[in-house]
Amino acid sequence: RNIFKGKGKKIFEEIEKVLIEADLGAKTVIELLEEIKKENQVFKSYAELKSILKDKLKNILNGAEANFDLNEKSIVLIYGVNGVGKTTTIAKLAKYLSDAGKVVALVAGDTYRAAAKEQLDVWAKRLNVKIYMQQHGADPGAVIFDGITAFKNNKKLDILIIDTGGRLHTNENLIKQFQKIVNVIKKVWGKMPNESLMILDGTTGQNALSQVDIFSKVIKPTGFIMTKLDGTARGGILIQLYEKHRIPIKFLGTGEKFTDLEQFRIEPFIDRIF
């Protein structure tokens, strides 16, 4: 009995549509469905095929959950392409850490975009955390150097979160600037940031792969945060990303308030894909 003709074919097509629309990527979806065919898995309904696929995806994402524990004086570097939610996510992380009893400070490392430091400053005031910033147009490396130096000398502060300007991975000058920022941090902190979190927009399609490839050449992320999953996008690109890079996903952004941050959990994430 060939399940891949007739009703079986319909079910395959239906689930192919669901997974592609979740941004898993067409090639990835086709490979997954080919695997199921090769494995001769038996399914009598859409629900059964869905359950087989959920298990496959859970297997792929095995290990993708990770904690965000900063138990020593730490620096957190935040970066990513333009408009993904870096500055807002920093506010959320500051809230998360403050609630956990940490004393947080921020560095306004985006010295280029209009009102970037003003935007972070509003969040700093709302959260009652210290913020290091300088005049518009200052060298970001210098601002970050000064921020880290002050942070090191301030015994009261536990965590320093560094905001950087949005930059496209295709902009060579901005990637070079980012490399300089990382070098400055290594120099003044004596090591890599304790956490280097690349922020990904949940609505991004296959371009996320190129973003991660290029940014990873400068610094390997310790984790991802995927934002804007309170919309209709399902963030399926994380599956290809995890398969390729094995970088954990620490949090998901689910809104514009500083409380809209959730820990990444594999099961609910996969459930949402379907």
Binding site: A115, E118, Q119, H169, T170, T203, N207, G231, T232, E256
Partner: protein
């Protein structure tokens, strides 16, 4: 890219008798390339169906150069879908025109609003910029700075309600004989009922002439959902695809055009005030298909 893939398939077909099966195989590869370029599943399907219909109608199977003809048909269908020529909005200069700029969070609305103002000021229009984003920290400040840095007029008012603020901007524009009022709005989710109602109310309150949807060109399948909801609620009259200076294939552009039917007016190609270009459909065809 797609061009190489299809040429690869067609090379395998050289010398073979071109059957319906072979055409199906070629189109399957084209569809896959569209999906990999982030074109929405349904849009890619519809596109392939149209090409298939045209292939059947065009007796391509009997031609001497079927391969090239299939490529040509795909390309033609593409340009048809994207809009056949560049559309430059050029409202008459003697009456006030109001453009409402809408879209998802972070798509580039504020930056594009400033770019549009500069673009049209350079064309001799008297342009006023106004921000209705009373939510995002320092959003109004962001547009104010962009305006001041580029000698663009910026509307200032203490009003905190977006609809009232829009009305006041309109009144001010009329009183001061502006040709063009550009209203930057806050980023919002297409599924946020209240926020969608807000931009509908703004549109009605000022009788906006254009509703321009700003979409990040790196967006994946969600572009279709975004375009559908914004179009149903607001009747989009044009769109701008931003961050086209990235290496995204930009399939979102095809989805937005197909679903909204509104012309893609401009593309954003950088963060600077000059980084805006009129959209040329045939250039986009090459980008998505290549």
């Amino acid at each position: 890219g797609l061009k190489d893939k299809v040429n690869g398939i067609l090379d395998k077909l050289k010398g073979k008798h071109l059957t319906k099966d072979y055409v199906e195989n070629v189109l399957r590869e084209v569809r896959l390339a569209l999906l990999e370029a982030d074109v929405h599943y349904k849009v890619a399907g519809k596109f392939i169906e149209s090409v298939k219909t045209n292939i059947i109608g065009s007796k391509i199977l009997e031609s001497l150069t079927p391969y090239q003809q299939i490529i040509d048909l795909v390309y033609k269908e593409f340009v048809l879908l994207m809009g056949e020529e560049a559309i430059l909005l050029e409202p008459p200069k003697d009456t006030l025109h109001i453009w409402e700029i809408v879209g998802l969070q972070g798509s580039g609305k504020t930056t594009q609003s400033a770019k549009l103002a500069k673009f049209y000021k350079d064309k001799g229009y008297k342009v006023l910029l106004a921000s209705l984003d009373v939510y995002r920290p320092a959003a109004i400040e962001q547009l104010r700075i962009l305006a001041n840095n580029n000698e663009l007029d910026f509307f200032e008012d203490k009003e905190k309600k977006p609809v009232k603020l829009a009305k006041k901007a309109r009144q001010y524009s009329e009183k001061n004989s502006y040709d063009l009022l550009i209203l930057d709005t806050a980023g919002r989710l297409h599924i946020d009922k209240e926020m969608m109602k807000e931009v509908e109310n703004v549109k009605a309150a000022v009788k906006a002439n254009e509703i321009i949807l700003v979409v990040d060109s790196m967006v994946g399948q969600d572009a279709a959902n975004i375009a559908k909801e914004f179009n149903e609620k607001l009747n989009i009259t044009g769109s701008i695809l931003t961050k086209f200076d990235s290496d995204t294939r930009g399939g979102a552009a095809l989805s937005v055009k197909y679903i909204s039917q509104a012309p893609i007016l401009f593309i954003g190609i950088g963060e600077k005030i000059k980084d805006i270009e009129v959209f040329y459909p045939d250039r986009m065809a090459q980008r998505i298909l290549n």
